[in-house]
Amino acid sequence: MRRLPGIALALLWAATGAFAGPSRVVTMNLCADQLAMMLAAPGQLASVSYIARDTRASAMAKEALAYPVNHGLAEEIYLLKPDLVIAGAYSTPATTGMLRRLGVAVVVFQPALSLQDVRARILQMGQVLGRKDAAQVLLAEYDQRLAALQDAGPEAPRAALYAANGFTSGSMTLAGQILRAAGLRNIADELGYARSGHMPLELLAMSAPDLLIGTSPYPRASRSEDNLAHPVVRQLAARSSAGQIRDADWVCGTPHVLRAVETLAEERRRFVEKEGSQ
């Protein structure tokens, strides 16, 4: 008898979940934007964040042109009359709190810190959108591409991730995992950076990486990106084969990270060939 309410609830949930996900979804986080655009049913996604259209940050800038954009402000999102808002862990709590008080359902997505996390995010997005089947298809495809990739040897070239403000990323970050999946060792691991952190330029120079993976500066220069133009960085970048650059594919935990891995693996192959010929 005690089980009955539980079973009834599960039945009700299954019945509604089968054909009725939310009908008007607004995403206000770059990564949720992209997952939602991949998985939502036609007409289900009402708006994405404006950053989704920024080609430097978004791997789906073209697709995002089809959706109205929001700027992550409670007022404009409320006026869109969504029945579900998907926010990221870094969305302002004031905004999500306000939306909840106004009676809007809000789901917060945590950032993906590994290639395994990406699988969980795909499933989570399928769940909240009521599009589990679409999520399973996407996941199967992702797993297949991922399995084809992983081959990091002990003699693999050493690479350094170096971004604006001298930031580097270790193995507990998505960027670090992309590096590993591409068959590269990360100097951040040698230096004890598990997550992201400021790496003094001296340490970068002393560790003498085979490949330097930088970021390309944004238009309208800023001093934070000065470090990428430092003679030491230029010299290290010139030693590695080509201009390895992180782009929009690196930013979010979506299947697009595999494209970043594939491009980087290609760079690694070219580097190994060049070394072998010398």
Partner: protein, 327 residues
């Protein structure tokens, strides 16, 4: 001069060598200094020549310049509270630099960045001198400085917030607090002409500043052209502070602390204080820059944090001492 000059110079040199051997890379002092002259050390030579050497040179050039500018301004205004950072000259220079970077002038013109900072500094010094008046009373001087600092800081933040570059907003701290981390020889060449020109101009003022201690009328009867003196002071200070701020951000309090400590040692004579403060400024900035590397080696602690922690209590002390004049 030599009695004070020799020990100060010796300390500058000693700190310069120490500065070359301090850094996150864990290398012995002997090896690192040898690597500076020998290509055989591989990456260490790169570190020494491209990272530590410019950093140490910049600390000497910028510290010396800021100390000198502080001593000159205090000599002219006959007010120990006049310091480029406190009266808004550094923040105005930072505004000029930020504008140059954001409009692309810094990238398209070789000397665009320091020239823009110089223009900002000129506007700042000019405004302060105009607002504070020829006597430079403490109250008007500090009020003018607060107003100009606030205005320049607000405009700097506005420019950085309007920038489409997502990193720009993070830079506000750099421009307000200053740092010498990850600078290159390029920055040394950017600041050097401005620091040398400014210093040369300020050092010519020595005799005039000495005469001014007797009062403006006395100075004029001694043949000092006060208008010319003021013009040279404005240009010299702006050149030094503009160049320094363009590459290292606004570093405050050096021009306040150093002349204050050295004044009794030179018998309160402005002409001798100029030289001594230049050396003293180089010492203080080198100490601060070594401190930020020892305290938080991996975090890029800002220089202004250290100089303000030392300088702000002294500033309070000076206000306390001069408050009779303020009342």
């Amino acid at each position: 001069m030599t009695r004070l000059g020799l020990p100060l110079s010796a300390v500058v040199l000693a700190l310069f060598l120490l500065s070359l051997t301090v850094g996150p890379a864990d290398v012995g002092a002997g090896d690192s200094l040898a690597a500076l002259f020998d290509d055989g050390y591989g990456p260490l030579t790169l570190v020494m020549r491209e990272i530590r050497l410019p950093r140490a040179l910049l600390a000497v050039i910028i510290g010396g310049g800021l100390g000198l500018a502080g001593a000159a301004m205090q000599g002219y205004l006959r007010n120990p509270l006049a310091e480029p950072g406190l009266i808004g000259v550094s923040s105005s220079a930072a505004l000029g630099a930020v504008l140059a970077i954001n409009t692309g002038v810094a990238a398209s013109l070789t000397l665009g960045l320091p020239l823009a900072a110089l223009a900002g500094a000129l506007a700042g010094v000019f405004l302060v001198m105009a607002l504070a008046g020829p006597q430079g009373g403490s109250l008007t001087l500090i009020l003018a400085g607060i107003a100009i600092s606030a205005m320049a800081a607000a405009l700097t933040s506005l420019v950085l917030n309007l920038s489409p570059n997502p990193f720009a907003a993070n830079e506000i701290v750099f421009w307000m607090m200053g740092s010498l981390a990850d600078r290159s020889m390029l920055h040394v060449w950017l600041v050097l002409p401005f620091a040398l020109t400014g210093a040369a101009v300020l050092l010519t003022l020595a005799r005039g500043l000495d005469a001014l201690t007797l009062g403006e009328d006395a100075a004029q009867t001694m043949g000092v052209n006060l208008n010319r003196l003021r013009l040279l002071l404005v240009v010299g200070t702006a050149s030094v502070v503009g160049g320094a701020t363009a590459v290292a951000g606004a570093i405050g309090f050096i021009g306040l602390v150093v002349p204050h400590i050295l004044r009794p040692l030179v018998g309160g004579q402005p002409s001798r204080l100029l030289w001594a403060s230049a050396l003293g400024g180089a010492i203080m900035l080198q100490l601060a820059d070594i401190a930020v590397r020892l305290i938080l080696p991996a975090r890029d602690l800002k220089l202004g944090v250290v100089t303000a922690l030392v300088g702000a209590p002294l500033f309070l002390h000076l206000i306390y001492k001069t408050r009779k004049g303020l009342a």
